[in-house]
């Protein structure tokens, strides 16, 4: 394997408080050094990163890669390739596949498919309960042994408080987080969008903020009771942010993520019955977006995660009630983060990289998220100034369901490296 020397970029590594022009050396797939005027080892590939940002590869805690079961809309390979195009060097794949990733063989299959893909790393998240039915715990020990980094019944909430208590307690032996899609199913009922003025006007059934917050509060209480690590997926309401903030002050082991779309869009996007604005949890109100941004800034919300949810184009070409929830996000996340959070002064660029790389690695105890010597040679180079227009036809993902089509985003990935090997090369280089 050729050594890799990335020269002259603005190297940002939140794990070391680094933000300065430097060279970065990767040898044998691992970070070997950072500094001014590093010499190139024999046979090294030299990449000129002047004018660009060099950062630890982005890490996404929450994607749906649909394999096995819906290979027509995404596979581990296409999802990992889309991730690399978005600057991600690792993604965590949710287990709501068909069949459900609830046993060690299924976890092993994801690992094998990811290795074959040779793009971003894919870390399986295994199910909390068998078949995600919410009744019997899956075998966490074997799942972790096969490569699972967390457990979640995402897609479904864990309805039973008893099961969640047991999951949090049992997971302690393996030091993995239990990630929950917080939703009270009776309150969500058959809702299709945020319950508020827009749903009232459109005549669409609403999902109240309380449907999320009730389960957030329950999970925090159970994490406190058990000492387990609860990870709260795709937070969407100001009430949730406040609950998490108070729980963190109390020392409860909680981490939380928010999606690029919940950090940027409101329920107003549902106007015209736009099915690409249909997601679960639903897009909320401006005050919720503001609270999520404040929470992301002050660390209440640890990480940005995309909840990348591919659907066939036919599936979204339906009336709003019948369209599925979710959008793809891997290839727009960085551009949205820079445009909406950095350029609008919510986060500094190092803070954005922290929330998209260093923090996610910390939350799920993953390698990466740092450029310290010995860390994996997972690196992204991007041009923070480059503007580009979202054209879903050009996505590496198999799916096109995004509400950001046609929008101009800021910040374009130039190269993505996993273990020192190029897994994506942007169009500009």
């Amino acid at each position: 394997m050729k050594p890799l020397l990335i020269r002259g970029g603005r190297v940002i590594d939140p794990s070391q408080g680094q933000d300065a022009v430097a060279d970065l050396l990767v040898v044998d797939g691992r970070i070997a050094g950072m500094g001014q005027g590093l010499g190139a080892p024999d046979g090294a590939e030299i990449v000129d990163a002047r004018g660009k940002v060099v950062a630890p590869g982005l890490i996404d805690l929450h994607v749906h890669l649909r394999e096995p079961g819906r290979e027509d809309v995404e596979t581990v390979a296409t999802g990992a390739r889309a991730a690399a195009a978005g600057g991600f060097t690792a993604v965590c794949a949710m287990p709501n596949t068909d069949p459900v990733t609830d046993n060690q063989a299924a976890v092993g299959f994801i690992v094998k498919q990811a290795q074959a893909a040779g793009a971003a790393r894919v870390y399986p998240i295994a199910a909390i309960s068998l078949a995600q039915k919410g009744q019997q715990l899956a075998e966490f020990g074997e799942l972790v042994g096969a490569g699972a980094v967390a457990v979640s019944d995402d897609g479904n909430p864990v309805v039973s408080s008893h099961l969640m208590r047991m999951a949090l307690a049992y997971a302690r032996a393996f030091d993995i987080p239990v990630a929950d899609h917080c939703e009270d199913p009776a309150l969500k009922a058959n809702g299709v969008m945020h319950e508020g003025l827009v749903s009232t006007r459109l005549g669409l059934r609403g999902i109240p903020a309380a449907a999320e917050e009730i389960m957030v509060a329950r999970n925090l209480l159970l994490a406190d009771l058990t000492g387990g690590h609860i990870h709260l997926c795709h937070m969407s309401t100001r009430g949730s942010v406040e609950l998490i903030r108070r729980a963190k002050e109390k020392g409860i082991r909680v981490t939380a993520e928010a999606t690029p779309h919940h950090l940027t869009l409101t329920d107003a996007v549902c106007e015209g019955y736009n099915t690409n604005a249909k997601m679960n949890p639903p897009l909320r109100e401006a005050a919720d977006v503001a609270a999520l941004r404040a929470g992301l800034k002050d660390g209440t919300i640890d990480a940005i995660a995309t909840d990348h949810a591919p659907h066939h184009y036919d599936a979204k070409e339906r009336d709003f009630d019948d369209a599925p929830f979710g959008i793809v996000g891997l290839e727009t996340a960085l551009g949205l983060g820079i445009r909406e959070l950095v350029q609008r002064g919510v986060l500094t660029l190092p803070e954005l990289i922290d929330r998209m790389s260093t923090a996610p690695a910390r939350v799920f105890h993953l390698p990466g998220g740092t450029l310290k010597p010995g860390a994996p040679g997972d690196v992204v180079i991007f041009d923070p100034e480059a503007r580009w227009r979202v054209d879903p036809i050009r996505f590496f993902s198999k799916s096109r369901n995004t509400p950001f089509a046609g929008q101009e985003l800021a910040g374009r990935v130039v190269r993505t490296f996993v273990a020192g090997l190029t897994v994506h090369r942007g169009e500009t280089t």
């Binding site: 319950e195 508020g196 003025l197 749903s199 009232t200 006007r201 459109l202 005549g203 669409l204 059934r205 609403g206 109240p208 015209g272 019955y273 036919d314 070409e317 339906r318 009336d319 709003f320 009630d321 019948d322």
Partner: protein, 324 residues
């Protein structure tokens, strides 16, 4: 003047201006007379093909549209979801494309999903008339209610109209709220809070928690049908209690400071939201609503057809005939 006055479709009253709504009501006046003739037919839409596409059971609205179409001499086809390709799993987009391929001129659609009419309208060149989409809008019902109120009071502006019952699930309520507000009425809503949508006040209506207060305030009540399945979904305890607490009864109306006009979009649950003596009483305009429904639908179909440049002149001439 009618050219594109309404645009291609009638999807709801929210997107319309007050002038557009008044224009439809005014256009309905001459069409009322057609239904009073021995030979109830004018040639206005001769040669036009209209599909009545009903994905939900409906008797009153479907028949009203069908009479309106036939009295305008249109060729009509009725498609009910049961037994059709829709029931066999055809998607709305495929249905739309097939209709388009058959070169039909207009589609009148009722659908259980909010936004379905807009979905269809965005995908076909034919005119689309929303005959009720989910819990969103039912614009021709809103218009016929406005026409009935205008007949009775001679005006809409300044009227106090309270819509009573299940506002949350009612497309009739939404169309009425928009239409009444745009024409300058004061609008109240009254019903159990479990059946009022969040943020309803922000639309510009006043919420009455007690039917007695609504009756004291209003000039007219539009009493909505209470869907019997709401009880099973936990929105209210029982129909009996609903009648006792929120029912529009003679006893309650007798305490009103003025005589109220009573509307109901039908079909009624006698003894639930409305007592028979009220429904059949002197202040009920429920059957006038039904009569006006045909005229309103004739006006809407005529205007949408007249919105086509190649039709505008001929259609206007024929409307003159109809008005004599």
């Amino acid at each position: 003047m009618t050219e594109r006055f309404l645009g291609k479709d009638l999807l709801g009253l929210e997107p319309l201006t007050a002038d557009q709504i008044r224009f439809i009501l005014d256009t309905a006046e001459p069409f009322k007379e057609v239904s009073e003739r021995a030979i109830k037919k004018v040639p206005t839409l001769r040669g036009k093909t209209i599909v009545n596409l009903f994905f939900e059971a409906s008797t009153r609205t479907r028949i009203s549209f069908e009479f309106a179409e036939k009295r305008l001499s249109a060729d009509t086809v009725n498609v009910a979801a049961a037994g059709s390709s829709v029931e066999k799993g055809e998607t709305l987009v495929d249905t739309a494309r097939n209709l388009e391929a058959m070169r039909i001129d207009m589609v009148v659609m009722r659908h259980p999903s909010s936004g379905a009419a807009q979905f269809l309208a965005d995908r076909i060149r034919s005119n689309v008339v929303n005959a009720g989409d989910g819990t969103h809008e039912h614009p021709t019902q809103g218009l016929l209610d406005l026409l009935t109120l205008r007949d009775k009071f001679g005006r809409i502006e300044g009227l106090k109209v309270c819509i009573c019952g299940d506002i949350l699930h009612s497309r009739v309520a939404r169309s009425n709220i928009w239409g009444l507000l745009k024409l300058g009425a004061e609008v109240g809503v009254c019903g159990p809070a479990s059946l009022l949508p969040l943020g309803i006040e922000e639309l510009g209506v006043t919420v009455y928690r007690r039917i007695e207060d609504a009756i004291e305030w209003a000039d007219a009540l539009n009493v909505l049908r209470l869907q019997l399945e709401r009880m099973h979904a936990g929105f209210l305890p029982s129909l009996r209690e609903y009648n006792r607490v929120f029912g529009v009864t003679v006893e309650r109306l007798e305490k009103a400071p003025r005589e109220l006009v009573i509307l109901h979009p039908g079909p009624m649950n006698r003894g639930v939201e409305i007592d028979s003596r009220v429904a059949d009483g002197p202040h009920s305009v429920i059957l006038e609503q039904v009569t006006n429904g045909v005229a309103i639908r004739m006006a809407v179909l005529y205007l949408l057809a007249g919105g086509r440049p190649e039709m505008a002149e001929a259609a206007k001439g024929r409307a003159g005939e109809a008005g004599e």
